[in-house]
Symmetry: C2
Subunit: 681 residues, 2 copies
Amino acid sequence: MTRPGPAPSRIVIQDVSPQIEGGRHPVKRVVGEPVLVGATVFADGHDRLHVVVSHHPPRAAGSGAKGWIDVAMTSVNPGLDRWEAGFTPATVGIHRFEVQAWIDHVATWRDATRRKIDAGVDTPGDLLAGAGLLEGLAELGPKREARALRAVAAALAGGDATIVTDDEAGRAIEAVAQIALRRSDAASGDTLTVAVERERALFSSWYELFPRSTWTGSPEPRAGTLRDVIDHLDEIAALGFDIVYLPPVHPIGSAFRKGPDNTGGAGPDDPGSPWAIGGPAGGHTAVHPDLGTLDDVVELAASAGALGLDLALDLAFQCSPDHPWVAEHPEWFRHRPDGSIQYAENPPKKYQDIYPLDFESAAWRTLWDALLEVTLFWAERGVRVFRVDNPHTKPFPFWEWLIAEVQKRHAGTIFLAEAFTRPAVMRRLGQVGFTQGYTYFTWRTSKQELVEYFSELASPPSADEFRPNAWPTTPDILPEHLQHAPLEAFALRVVLAATLSPSYGVFGPSFELGETVPVHLPEGGTREELARSEKYEVRHWDLADGRTLRPLLTELNRIRGEQLALHTLRTLRFHGADNDALICFSKTAHTGPSSDPSDPGRASVLVVVNLDPHGTQGGVVDLDLWALGVDPDRPYTVTDLLGGDTYTWSGSRAYVELDPGRRPAHVFRVAQVSESRETSP
Amino acid sequence: MTRPGPAPSRIVIQDVSPQIEGGRHPVKRVVGEPVLVGATVFADGHDRLHVVVSHHPPRAAGSGAKGWIDVAMTSVNPGLDRWEAGFTPATVGIHRFEVQAWIDHVATWRDATRRKIDAGVDTPGDLLAGAGLLEGLAELGPKREARALRAVAAALAGGDATIVTDDEAGRAIEAVAQIALRRSDAASGDTLTVAVERERALFSSWYELFPRSTWTGSPEPRAGTLRDVIDHLDEIAALGFDIVYLPPVHPIGSAFRKGPDNTGGAGPDDPGSPWAIGGPAGGHTAVHPDLGTLDDVVELAASAGALGLDLALDLAFQCSPDHPWVAEHPEWFRHRPDGSIQYAENPPKKYQDIYPLDFESAAWRTLWDALLEVTLFWAERGVRVFRVDNPHTKPFPFWEWLIAEVQKRHAGTIFLAEAFTRPAVMRRLGQVGFTQGYTYFTWRTSKQELVEYFSELASPPSADEFRPNAWPTTPDILPEHLQHAPLEAFALRVVLAATLSPSYGVFGPSFELGETVPVHLPEGGTREELARSEKYEVRHWDLADGRTLRPLLTELNRIRGEQLALHTLRTLRFHGADNDALICFSKTAHTGPSSDPSDPGRASVLVVVNLDPHGTQGGVVDLDLWALGVDPDRPYTVTDLLGGDTYTWSGSRAYVELDPGRRPAHVFRVAQVSESRETSP
């Protein structure tokens, strides 16, 4: 007759959260971002349980092997058998956690015996039974605990019921008994993992620029270089960005090179698209001679680092027909029956300037190795952030492997997935290790769309597996609503990006100036792409004169830096507004809003954005004061960090009005009016 | 440098449904109940996929080893990468299924080549590439398929593009290629399981009776016996029930025996509670001498079976102080410090007539074995249905083991869990193998409560793991709303139970007569329990005279038998009604409503119940005609199977009125008016 070996545990541990796909992938957090663990835990019968979440920092954590750390879980909904507890990881790496539970026979016995004493039906046998229980546990417990348990057992045997009737003494002995109770019979849930990254993985401000366009000096415009970028780092730091992202800096192929506006034939002076990688001067580990040298990249990374910035390079795993790999490693490409290499196609369109790498090649192992070597090559030169071009056209297992291998050697390396594709694919890229991903924000314009999309992003499972990076525009995308739009439209979009999403980015000078002219198609209509895009030609920018978004970006980045609430994603809450042109939302710091007025950085932040760039909009907002950490019965102040004005509000409803000509939004810091101020008018 | 061995699959298979706890438990179905499998399946890039669900009947299925059967999955939501397909298990046992997917390189190549041909940009190379692809696949495929692939490859090599441009020929060769494509590189999801039981596991009508009360003859009332039950089987079958459930039939202890109304001291003639099992005449495998003999049970089971009924016995794993195990196996009980056995307690209450078994005993293995032997003892005597008393006070792993061991030897054995406790615990009992469970229906009275509760029960995850059995009352429970209530209240409750839930049960003559007097507490108020309960005394019933629910029960069971829609749980849909005293819902047969008027058993069934037993209620119902399988643009008829009237309705709204004095509900069979009738008025 078959049956389980030792008596199986009576305890069931189910529905542990957070977890992704049954624990196959780690959930995402950054240092200082709490992990709130929930679990459904119960047993047969009515015995009391003791439930803990036990967590373990990364094995290789610098501060020595700390081992497992327990946090007692609280029964938050006894009817649903739901328990919760949190911990906050402090080190980068893979943290483990599991829920453990055991029957608390001591608390169960104390409860029953106390109820009998209260009802006057107790017997000496009840105290003796407790003595026997504690004696038995003393056999299992560590020495010090065993002594305490035996002392209490002796008192019970002598008829002393203090331990039952006195809550403090009772709880103390219950605490002492847990080690032995756990040893005697504990159940464990699955071991789950948390991938903890540095804060910039969640909270980052990206500035994208084409080095060949950066130089704006006079008298003669000339193409920029990496040294020009180095010279501009101070300016970018002053704007408040913390990641400077450059499109590919490698040699550009000449075969089938694209001309301006992505047209077929390039002229002799057209520089080509930086994504057509590889030429006689080298491939993915070479620097375009017109931009500078490898040393320039090293210096650029170091100079950025000295200013607190990260340099981000582009990983575009594809080749121009002139890439050295085409001759050296034909086995990494797909061949047509005539022996030629298969270029990229989307029939009937042909992209003859690009050879995709063939991940189904029999030589996939050497290809994977080569691409890892490329990534490590740049990591070893100080690059800790990569923007990955079209990751969704390469196999997911490849990325899972590559990202793990890089992070193993260079902890804290950030990978941003440039994938604008179906939700399941974007989620999967997060699951296999991408730190951040581009989003649909670019096309979400109405209040309803923004509320739905960001509510989804800020909640599990999305918030545990996908970190959004919101871009109003990119070199590839000028969405329809920004074509021929006023600068106010760019302003409101960047306020949304920078406050809804902890990570956001702008496409450099083109965005600062609000470039709005799209490519016009020969057959009529427009493409969602900028005319005269820097992808295909050198541009010369003049940011010194005229209206730009520079002051707004500087303000936004300053506010983002100061207000910890804006460093978070999952504390996002939307509030009501009786005008669909006004969107209202708030965030609180991970640690909750501070009640200390000397700590304004931990205040709740309340944002109201006018979605109409053309005219003033006003309306009544209806606030969830509980979400703001505000006592609904007392007044509170809201200070506009974009404008400086402070208002004192009472209750949940307030009127707001925004003139896009003056400012696109209120970004309020919320503070409870202190008791003292309230009582001494 | 570590990396995966062979090239890992590019395909991701996620979120496969149905599944319970990541596949740790089988999902529940009965023979003929469809399994609709869903999965999120995708790969990198834009290649076409081929996705199947592969399922396997039980290993020991009578009809030989059929092996894995494939059903092609359909892309039901390409944007969400969601695929679906169904299969319908035909045999009892554990079925397995898994989702498999591979890249359909042939369909991908055909698509691209056709688009080029349409745009006039194709080359001979495109056809040659296809020829090469098919040649390569021919190397992998079975002989017949290989021949077909090579023939097409030769045509392509000769410049014949028929296979690309002709859809029929193209799809044919795509189908032929799948075996080889699958062999070359298929991804598999987890293997999941379905526990398939006989139909009665889902659809059953229970009649509970105390054998000692069954005899109602004259002139002298006497206690009933098992032979009396045998004599009444015809009557129960005529009522339309299919499971006859008896409380424990074993000897009853005399120590601390309970008197009438669960009072302390029993008099010499009080028969005691059947759940205080065990006395000098034996324990769990003995029959109470007053009821009859073991042979009577065997005959009862056989006679029931001959009428198409199942006999259900009670498994109450606890002992009276007079049970033989108390002396023979003291190690199976918990002992107090003075050596006495610990009786059941809920401090300050004592239940000294019951000794619980100690599942934490060191001797748990022999205890488990003994309890399995008890169950098998009755199974070997023809009992295939067990109602399990208080399963939630015994460990879950014990039940998981016991149920599997019994079903291994006696396929189709049904276990009903008598647990009225927290949702997580009730779900768990279903997960570990209980066929059915009692429900909160007994206390759900308002429309909102009923809609919420049954919507939850009819949907995953509940519908996949927990089969409800709805009882208006039990020997333990007379809910407050039925205390001192009119017979109309009992009528509406049993209509709800019998139509909302595929399984329901009634507590015999007490329910048929609508007994409404609760136990009055000495301190005032009532207990939710019948006064003069059969649990503690012999009752004599007279069902021949007066108003009883017998005609209604007979009608309900007849309708339930005829209408396949009422055999289902997960097709339940609620419809609107503008009066909160009217609840309106429908069900369709698993196979969908029949359009064949000669097949009325497969019609949709629409139920409207008046929740007010005191007065007539009327209102407009607003029907989801799509859920009823009705063309909204054509008239349809509704035939009241309880009353016989037929109405012709058009559109979604109709007025209904119910007088509880006449009938508690409409139970409509819905039929589309046929085209011919419609066009020839």
